[in-house]
């Protein structure tokens, strides 16, 4: 069953004269118990999707969607209170920049303890509850791999390294025992050992507690080993989406292929000192998005038809948006 179901999510912003579509009809589903990777270059709108789901969009964005539902209930038509409850218990978000996402004037411990929902705290009297809160917080901190809880729980965000902040964000997200974890680049700025630690934690939680994870990142290597399904985003459009192993074996969209090719670790036959294959050009700026398929100007297979936005096509549970996908050899 789909936990989170997003259909044709469009985000627009007014830039004085024109209205720019930062997200153009994005589709995304996260089923229960799966780890879905959301991949795209920086600026492709990954974080915008995260903000849109968590209701944290600044007011100047205009959001429209055919469907944005959580377990069949529409998040768009929900009352503020209902939505708050969903965010409190079911969905947890780890934001991209941990240092600015933590309150600079409160200690990490206070912030962690306030994220614990009241139902999880045992005890009748406030001192018992306070103790219990503290215990839960220490447990959560240990779980994400911070050993010196005494030191870090009473520290302020600016006093600790960035990766500890990031781990605290993860601890704050996990402490409410959510059904879905939305992790926006959760391993950024971490060294490799801690990164593996965190990824292992995610995998374990996914297997033991059947926690669904929407893993947003551009770190293909990390994602490929742990996620079941993948959605690729380019300049605010969904490009391809499907099972991880299918996409890795046979990408259908030229962009996905270029993305996979550009990661050297995915190719075992790469001769030494050869140039990495990349697409010509750069990601277009928001004000100058091409019409139709936004990859158009950079795409090696582009033809005249590409000025019309391709519709989503489907082969089993593998979907792609392309007029000339790779499995159709005729050009």
């Amino acid at each position: 069953m789909a936990l989170l179901d997003i259909k044709n999510l469009t985000l627009e912003i007014d830039t004085g004269q024109t209205r720019v579509k930062a997200l153009d009809k994005v589709n995304l589903t996260v089923s229960s118990g799966e780890i879905r990777a959301l991949v795209g270059e920086s600026g492709s709108g990954k974080s915008l999707i995260v903000s849109a789901i968590s209701g944290a969009l600044p007011p100047q964005w205009r959001m429209t969607a055919d469907r944005l539902s959580w377990r069949g209930e529409s998040l768009l038509s929900m009352s503020t209170e209902q939505r708050r409850q969903v965010m409190r218990r079911d969905i947890a978000v780890v934001f991209q920049n941990p240092v600015s996402a933590l309150d600079p004037s409160a200690t990490l411990g206070q912030q962690l303890e306030e994220s614990i929902p009241d139902e999880l705290v045992r005890g009748n009297w406030f001192w018992q509850r306070g103790q219990n809160r503290r215990k839960i917080a220490i447990g959560a901190v240990h779980k994400v791999g911070i050993k010196h809880h005494r030191h870090y729980l009473s520290a302020y965000p600016h006093q600790v390294p960035t990766d500890i902040c990031q781990k605290f964000m993860i601890a704050m997200a996990l402490v409410s025992q959510p059904k879905l974890l939305i992790a926006d680049d959760p391993t950024r700025g971490m060294e490799t050992t801690t990164k593996t630690q965190v990824l292992k934690l995610f995998t374990r939680l996914n297997q033991t507690k059947s926690l669904s994870i929407l893993f947003v990142s551009h770190d293909l290597l990390a994602i490929a080993s742990m996620s079941h399904t993948m959605t690729v985003l380019y300049a605010g459009q969904t490009v391809e989406s499907g099972k991880m192993k299918h996409i890795r074996k046979r990408p259908l969209h030229p962009y996905t292929k270029a993305l996979l090719d550009s990661a050297p670790s995915f190719r075992n036959n790469l001769p030494p000192k050869s140039t990495l294959p990349t697409l010509e050009g750069t990601i277009p700026p928001l004000q100058h998005m091409p019409i139709g398929c936004r990859l158009g100007p950079r795409c090696p297979r582009a033809q005249r038809d590409c000025v019309v936005t391709p519709v989503q096509r489907r082969i089993h549970d593998h979907t792609y948006n392309c007029h000339f996908p790779l499995h159709m050899e005729k050009l």
Binding site: R88, V93, D103
Partner: protein
């Protein structure tokens, strides 16, 4: 902690030294006799003059003179007034608390009214109620204080007759001067009707306090509102919201403190304006404060009084400013930030 205290103490002492040097040089810069400007005493004959000059070390180099002057200042020997012949320390000791009292009550009103209203406007930012509060505060912030005080006198004292025109307390009450703060003095006084005296003092106080408070309150509302709006746009508020905290939790745990921190230094700046305003309003209401006293000194060319008065007022302003800044430094955890190497 010790470091911070030492730094602020050094700053404080150095600033006071510069001020003392300035006030010392005034004795030379003011027209007339240096000895008279410095002591406030007019020597009757040459012998007395020489004795005084020797006493004040005027026959020695400037540095020694200044050193001696500092000693005199610290020991409370500030010279005498030209006009009244009284020691200046006593006169300032009476005038200064009156000003501080006025400024304190105005500041209290500004804090009690301005900060909550500012928070309310900030939380309701860009709604009709916020626009109303904002325009009212802008309107009252733009009043010149002397004009507002005159208007108050015209309306409340002359037209309606509900508040007295001038002074601190009715002359019928004989209140001994213990602390210099009228309300405290009344409470400490022995054989008077305290209720009557208090109500009379409050009547006297209402108009000048209000005249100063309105402007400071408006400034406070605007600062608080701006600060709250800034904090509301920060990522950690968004993050707190996405964790499903209620509006009240977000407000009490994350907004209040973070919005208050940037206001405190601005408040320190407001103190200067506040005391200036208090001094202006005093002259209009004949409030026996330092502003009124300085104006009289200027009219009567009382140079020793001006020299010490300037020093006293600036010392007060600097002390308050540095104290507020120090307080802010001590309670704001993020200001002990040091650069950390990042990967």
């Amino acid at each position: 902690m010790i470091n911070v205290l030492t730094r602020y103490l050094t700053l404080f002492v150095l600033t006071l030294l510069v001020l003392a040097a300035l006030s010392f040089s005034l004795a030379y810069l003011f027209p007339g006799d240096v000895l008279t400007n410095l002591t406030g005493l007019t020597p009757q004959n040459d012998m007395q003059r020489e004795a005084l000059a020797r006493q004040y070390k005027l026959d020695q180099p400037y540095v020694v003179q200044f050193y001696h002057y500092l000693g005199q200042l610290l020991s409370g020997n500030w010279g005498h007034s030209f006009i009244s012949g009284l020691p200046l320390r006593e006169e300032i000791g009476i005038a200064m608390p009156a000003t501080i009292e006025l400024a304190t009550y105005a500041m209290l009103i500004a804090l009690i009214v301005g900060v909550p209203v500012g928070y309310y406007a900030g939380m309701r930012s860009y709604t009709p109620i916020d626009h109303t509060i904002n325009s009212v505060s802008l309107f009252s912030y733009s009043f010149p204080v002397f004009w507002l005080a005159l208007l108050f006198i015209l309306v409340f004292s002359l037209e309606l007759g509900i508040a007295p025109l001038s002074g601190r307390v009715s002359l019928l009450f004989d209140i001994p001067d213990a602390t210099g703060f009228i309300l405290l003095d009344i409470l400490l006084a022995e054989d008077i009707d305290k209720g009557l005296a208090l109500s009379d003092a409050l009547h006297h106080m209402a108009l000048p306090t209000l005249a100063i408070a309105i402007i400071t309150t408006a400034a406070m509302i605007r600062m608080t509102r701006r600060s709250v709006i800034d904090v509301l746009g920060r990522p950690y508020i968004t993050a707190a919201r996405s964790r499903g905290l209620s509006r009240w939790q977000i407000f009490s745990r994350h907004i209040v403190r973070n919005a208050l921190l940037p206001i405190l230094p601005l408040m320190a700046i407001q103190i200067t304006t506040l005391i200036t305003n208090a001094m202006i309003v005093e002259t209009l209401f004949s409030w026996p404060g330092i502003g009124n006293w300085l104006i009289q000194a200027i009219y009567q060319r009382d140079y020793p009084a001006l020299r010490v008065g300037m020093l006293a007022v600036s010392t007060l302003v600097i002390t308050l400013t540095i104290l507020v800044d120090l307080f802010n430094r001590l309670i704001d955890p993020s200001r002990e930030k040091y650069e950390r190497a990042t990967v």
